[in-house]
C-alpha cells in the first residue's frame, strides 16, 4: 500500500475558490512541513491552480499534491485550447532553460510591465523563481498536466 501523503482535488473551474484552496493547503503544509517550504508551496499552489483554471476550456480541473521520497510535487490537470498549450510549453521551456533564473525573472517582470492585456504572465515565473520549484509539463491531446517540484527540505513532521 502506498502510504506517501497526498491530497487530490477535482473541481469545476472557478477562480473564486483559489484563495480558499491556498489557505486550506497552506494549513496542511504548515502542519507537516518546514515553515519556509510551506510558504513556498502555498504560493506555488495558488499560482499553478489559478493558471490551470484561468486557461481551462471549462471542463474539470484537478490539483494533486504528493510527497514522494525526498520531493514534493504539485500537479494540475486541465483541458486547454491549442494556442494556450503552445504558450505553456514555450513559457516552461524558457523558464527551465534560463542560465540565470534571477536575471530571467527580472526580464519577465520587465515584459510584464509592458503588457496591456490585463495579464501578468508571471504566474509560472513566480513558481520557478520565488517558490524555487522546477516545472515540467505533459500534454495528451487537449489535456495539460503541469508539475512543480521541489526538495522536501526538513522532512516531514511527525
Amino acid at each position: 500500500m502506498n502510504t506517501a501523503p497526498y491530497f487530490h482535488l477535482v473541481l469545476q473551474p472557478d477562480l473564486g475558490v483559489v484563495s480558499t484552496i491556498r489557505r486550506f493547503t497552506n494549513d496542511l503544509y504548515q502542519r507537516v512541513l518546514d515553515r519556509e517550504l510551506a510558504g513556498r508551496l502555498a504560493l506555488a499552489t495558488h499560482e499553478v491552480l489559478e493558471n490551470a483554471i484561468s486557461y481551462s476550456n471549462g471542463r474539470e480541473t484537478e490539483l494533486r499534491i504528493d510527497i514522494e521520497g525526498d520531493e514534493v510535487n504539485l500537479r494540475t490537470w486541465n483541458h486547454a485550447d491549442p494556442e494556450r498549450i503552445e504558450a505553456i510549453k514555450d513559457g516552461i521551456d524558457h523558464l527551465m532553460a534560463a542560465a540565470d533564473p534571477d536575471a530571467y525573472y527580472q526580464e519577465c517582470i520587465s515584459v510584464s510591465y509592458q503588457r496591456t492585456d490585463g495579464g501578468s504572465g508571471l504566474g509560472l515565473a513566480r513558481i520557478r523563481n520565488e517558490a524555487d520549484m522546477s516545472l515540467s509539463y505533459e500534454i495528451d491531446r487537449d489535456r495539460v498536466c503541469i508539475r512543480a517540484t521541489t526538495k522536501l527540505v526538513g522532512g516531514l513532521r511527525a
Partner: protein, 126 residues
C-alpha cells in the same frame, strides 16, 4: 491640500491611506487575488495620482497585514513602480514597504523581486 482617495472596500481586500508630513501612508489588509485585482488596480492608480498631485516625497506601503498577493496583483505594483520611474527625476517619490515575512513568507521573495525592478525607488522594511 487634503488627500482625495476613497478607501478600498473589496470583499477580501481593504486599503486606506493618510498623509502626514509629506509622506503618504497606505495600508493593505486581506488578500490581493484575481477577484480583488480590479479594485486594487483602481486604488493604486488613484494613489499614484494623489502622490503626484500632493508632491509627496515618500509613499509608505504597509503590507504587514496582506496575507497574499497573486501574480496579477503583483503586476499592479510593477505598473505603479514603472509609472514612478517614468516621472521626471524631481517628481519621483520613494516607496518604502513595510513587510512581515515571518508571518507571510511570500513577502520575502516577492518584495525582493519588486525592489530589484525599481532598485533606486524602493526600500523594504521587515
Amino acid at each position: 491640500m487634503t488627500l482625495q482617495l476613497a478607501n478600498l472596500e473589496a470583499p477580501m481586500l481593504t486599503a486606506d491611506s493618510v498623509v502626514t508630513d509629506k509622506i503618504l501612508t497606505t495600508r493593505l489588509h486581506g488578500t490581493a487575488d484575481t477577484e480583488s485585482r480590479p479594485g486594487l488596480e483602481g486604488y493604486v492608480s488613484e494613489l499614484h495620482k494623489e502622490a503626484c498631485r500632493l508632491g509627496m516625497s515618500k509613499v509608505v506601503v504597509d503590507l504587514r497585514n496582506l496575507e497574499f498577493m497573486n501574480s496579477s496583483s503583483f503586476k499592479v505594483f510593477i505598473t505603479w513602480l514603472g509609472q514612478v520611474m517614468e516621472l521626471p527625476a524631481d517628481a519621483q517619490y520613494r516607496i518604502h514597504v513595510l513587510s512581515n515575512p515571518s508571518t507571510h513568507q511570500w513577502q520575502r521573495r516577492s518584495l525582493a523581486a519588486l525592489s530589484c525592478f525599481a532598485v533606486d525607488l524602493v526600500t523594504i522594511e521587515t
